[in-house]
């Protein structure tokens, strides 16, 4: 029986420690992991908790991230709770198995500490790994600070394991800016967290030898399409369970989560749409713009997948200009947020000015001043009623300005 970990009402944890404690409290049967910067401390802290007697489950140190996710798939298919952590190149190596996990409907939880993808090699934060995995059929939850990394990791188990969902869940946090930044965190006590998540319920367990099943079978054109459609259907509908779990979490802690995050959007003319820690920095920039008489707001996705299409339309319903900030090299097109937000707006019959900023690649600092420059651009476009700056710009890039369209 695992020892109870004495926790203060307020702890000072970085995002990695916060995620590690959430994993410890989740009573996981199997963690299979291969540490990689900047998520290494999650794996390191978790294995220390285990060595010190605070964890009952097993920890399997594997030889690659491909094996880490394969280990989780095997454990989850066998009928137990499984989780892991990774970043960047490790995430990239896992991609093949990410699709296996979702296709086999295995409610694995993975904490992803977002980091740039090589080349050039870089250990710092951007969202390249998040964008790489966004179509892999996992539920994707996004945090902006260590408290949220903790909260969402706890909720991830309850969401993915729900009998109406049974899908794997990733919880994203920004490399270093969240993962290595210590801030105030109010954790649940161990028993409270365990009670909230509940017992793991095995479905089609391979260890249930009285009811033999096969996982990961081959289906050709006769059944593959139906399987993938069913999987997509259940991922789309998982938003109901996500909302229920968010509501239950709010009842317990007072901390409110919604599929789309908004700040001062009720009367906003201009908005920054971003992910990760930038969301909170943008709040400061928005407040400073409001002091200058510009009605600025902030919007973000708490749930990246399933994409909260309607809620995005509602959040941006009255805005005159919105800047989508993508922290990932778009590889020959606009950033993902620009494309998805534009589509949601167009389908809703709205045509505000939509701008795209590529920013923060490889950990480039995103300052309040830069975010205020974005609001200044937006204000000009809102007043003109049309784009008066290039549609795609690079924010914080040194050297000559780079822009398209």
């Amino acid at each position: 029986m695992a020892k109870k970990y004495e926790l203060n009402e307020v702890e000072v944890w970085d995002g990695n420690m916060a995620a590690a404690h959430a994993l410890r409290q989740a009573d996981i049967d199997i963690v299979a992991a291969y540490p990689i910067t900047p998520s290494t401390p999650i794996v390191q802290n978790y294995s220390k908790f285990l060595a010190d007697g605070y964890v009952d489950g097993e920890f399997i140190m594997v030889e690659s991230e491909h094996s880490a996710m394969s280990g989780c798939v095997a454990a989850s298919a066998a009928g137990v709770r499984a989780a892991t952590a990774t970043s960047s190149q490790g995430f990239a190596l896992m991609v093949e198995v990410l699709y296996q996990a979702s296709g086999m409907r295995l409610p694995i939880v993975m904490t992803v500490v977002n980091r740039a993808l090589a080349a050039p090699l870089n250990v710092n934060g951007d969202h390249s790994d998040m964008y790489l995995g966004r179509d892999a059929g996992w539920i994707n939850l996004c945090s902006y600070n260590p408290q949220e990394a903790y909260d969402l990791t706890l909720m991830a188990f309850k969401i993915g394991e729900d009998l109406n969902v049974r899908l794997p869940v990733m919880v994203h946090q920004d490399g270093f800016i969240c993962s290595h930044t210590a801030q105030n965190v109010r954790p649940l006590q161990d028993e409270e967290a365990k009670e909230f998540i509940g017992e793991f319920k095995a479905v089609n367990s391979m260890l249930d030898v009285a009811n033999p099943v096969t996982h990961g079978v081959q289906t050709e054109e006769d059944w593959h399409f139906e399987h993938k459609a069913r999987q997509h259907n259940d991922l789309m509908n998982s938003i109901k369970t996500i909302n229920e779990v968010f509501a239950q979490f709010k009842d317990r802690t007072g901390r409110e989560y919604t599929p789309v995050y908004t700040y001062k959007m009720d009367d906003a003319d201009v908005a920054i749409f971003a992910l990760g820690t930038t969301v909170e920095s943008a709040r400061i920039a928005a407040d400073q713009m409001r002091e200058k008489g510009i009605k600025a707001g902030v919007v973000s996705l708490r749930v990246l997948r399933p994409f909260p299409f309607k809620e995005v339309q509602e959040a941006l319903g009255n805005v005159k200009a919105v800047a989508t900030l993508d922290r990932s090299a778009p590889g020959g097109t606009f950033g993902m947020l620009f494309n998805e937000i534009s589509a949601a707006l167009l389908a809703g019959g709205k045509k505000p000015v939509v701008l795209n900023y590529i920013y923060g690649l490889g950990g480039r600092d995103t300052t309040i001043e830069m975010l205020k420059e974005v609001y200044e651009d937006l204000d000009k476009c809102a007043k003109a009623g049309e784009p008066v700056v290039p549609l795609q710009q690079f924010l914080g890039l040194r050297g000559p300005k780079l822009s398209f369209y």
Binding site: V12, N124, I177, H180, N184, E280
Partner: protein
């Protein structure tokens, strides 16, 4: 918002110092942030660590900072690192050195006209802890210069932060904090 920048070499305990300070401050009900610039830097490389302290939850995630305090815990960095970067008019400097304040400013003229405090955290940590880990004495010096907490309160709070260490190490750190508190000037 109070902002602090640490100049250190990797391995000298600036991150631990920044997190220790954050722990103590968080216990008083304030909001804190402690972070560092990492690259693939190895032990001995020059690095910076940061604290933010506020009455409100801290939303600012930019690395850019105009510090209220600059803490230099390695004597050589006064000359090789850009310790006055992004300073404000009233930025206070607490610098580890064996020199007197006058000798220090003479040897690094860019400190002239600034509010500079000196303390020999290296010698203090060697004498008390037995190793050149200058973070704890720097915290003692910061308490004296900033008036953030009185010495006894801070020592009690740090004892809790260090509670997982053997008593001998806790005692040595307390001695280091107290001596730096009394010697910084």
């Amino acid at each position: 918002m109070l902002e602090i920048r640490w100049h250190s070499r990797a391995g000298q305990g600036a991150v631990t110092g920044a997190k220790g300070l954050a722990d103590v401050v968080a216990n008083t009900g304030k909001y804190v942030q402690a972070f560092a610039f990492y690259g693939s830097a190895k032990r001995g490389a020059a690095m910076t660590a940061y604290n933010r302290v506020d009455e409100q939850p801290i939303l600012n995630h930019e690395k850019f900072m105009r510090p209220d305090y600059v803490l230099v815990i390695d004597p050589g960095l006064t000359y090789t690192a850009d310790i006055t970067a992004n300073e404000k008019e009233n930025t206070k400097y607490i610098i580890t050195t064996h020199l007197s304040k006058e000798e220090l400013i003479k040897s690094q003229p860019k400190l002239e006209g600034k509010e500079v405090y000196v303390v020999d955290c290296m010698q203090i940590s060697l004498d008390t802890i037995g190793r050149a880990i200058p973070n704890a004495p720097m915290l003692g010096a910061l308490m004296k210069v900033s008036g953030m907490f009185d010495l006894d309160y801070f020592k009690e709070a740090m004892k809790k932060v260090l509670s997982k260490f053997p008593q001998k190490i806790i005692d040595a750190n307390m001695a280091a904090i107290e001596r730096a508190y009394n010697e910084v000037h």
